[in-house]
Symmetry: C2
Subunit: 237 residues, 2 copies
């Protein structure tokens, strides 16, 4: 059995790691919000600031990874404690990916300005609100070790997929209605897909929270993934 | 200092983990090849088989993760040995994502059949050949602990990005030339993007190999990422 000193040391390490993951999560939430504002309001400065923040998020991920590795090496945790370290490692990696996707939306925001009319932006904003809410909830479930909260996020990913699917259809329709929309809609297709993928990362985080608490993964009633890859909305006649 | 028994035990564990990662890599390489054949030859059965293989790849990833966690808990590795375990954990995660992306291409292969003419397929095949070669090389660099080989893969990602960029442009052009191409080209845009992301995962694996060997990350001459998100090929006049 580890002595009290080790137990206390491990708890202190984990508190520091959790707090850094939470801080990273708050930054990434802000990146999503600002990316969509930059897109909607045409704000190139804001777009650049989101892209610049990516370096900080990357750095924070490396720090979390480093702390996790040091904690495993120094404290030799097992069972629940070991799972807590592994989950932090995974969650930091998902958060870093969400930050990348927000940065990619900002690159597209900068490109879109040049092509003028940006269609369906309110729908993109609506999708981003849902995705941010998913992220906020799953991070709360992580901090509070709330398996029920994580399960709700996991189940609700279908709403993200449905919204992306409907946007996908409407963007293709806009392209067909006016070929001058093709470039801007192609970028918005990727913006919508990026948001759908952020939703998947929130779902991954929900999986990590469940694993941390129970050692299990979600198995039944797995939400359907994005099925726009299977869609042929306008078959050639 | 660990005694000989622990050292031998750790080496045996790592051999088993490395061999499972290599096996996973071979499966994923096959998934990429088959996904592109399914797309080019319209072979729905082959497409379904790639999608079905995803379950096996997911399972293998979990096994690698489990073995890594057990090895850390049981052998308490440090320094190089600890980095070897962490790298295997990361590489398995990148391979699993590549498998997902191949599955997504197969979903699109099934959808594309229904819309008839599939443009620019030879170029997609060419891109996939490059990406598979990157994956093959980076896995060899992992098995042989060859930091130089990993660095070459890391540098060569610019070629993947350039090929994706040129496809992105030509797909938009095809959409503009004939609106009936819009649905199929939208799917092919995502196929090309998926391939570009597989290239990024190969680059991530190169980073993990370098980290495993040296404890450092690549810092200078970082290859430019995909910049198609910034492209406005046809500004509205």
């Amino acid at each position: 059995m580890p002595d009290d000193h080790t137990v206390a040391g491990f708890s202190a390490d984990m508190r520091a790691i959790r707090s850094q993951v939470a801080e990273m999560g708050a930054l990434v939430e802000m990146q999503i919000a600002n990316a969509v504002t930059a897109l909607s309001d045409y704000d190139p400065q804001l777009a650049e600031s989101v892209i610049a923040l990516d370096l900080k998020v990357d750095l924070m991920q490396r720090e979390v990874e480093q702390k996790v590795i040091e904690t495993i090496a120094r404290r030799q945790p097992f069972a629940t404690d070991l799972r807590a370290t592994i989950s932090a490692f995974r969650i930091a990696s998902d958060l870093e990916r969400i930050g990348d996707l927000a940065g990619n939306i900002c690159n597209r925001a900068l490109a879109l300005d040049q092509v003028g009319p940006r269609l369906l932006l309110p729908r993109i904003a609506q999708l981003s609100t849902l995705v941010r809410d998913q992220l906020k909830r799953v991070l709360a479930s992580y901090i509070e070790a709330d398996a029920g909260g994580a399960a709700e996020v996991w189940q609700r990913d279908v709403e993200v997929d449905a919204m992306h699917k409907s946007l996908f259809l409407d963007l293709l329709t806009s392209m067909m209605e006016d070929p001058r929309n093709i470039t801007s809609c192609a970028h918005l297709l990727f913006c919508s897909k990026n948001m759908e993928r952020m939703g998947d990362h929130a779902t991954n985080i929900a999986e990590s929270v469940r694993y941390m608490i129970t050692g299990d993964r979600f198995t039944d009633d797995r939400p359907k993934g994005d099925d726009t890859s299977l869609m042929v909305p306008f078959p050639r006649s």
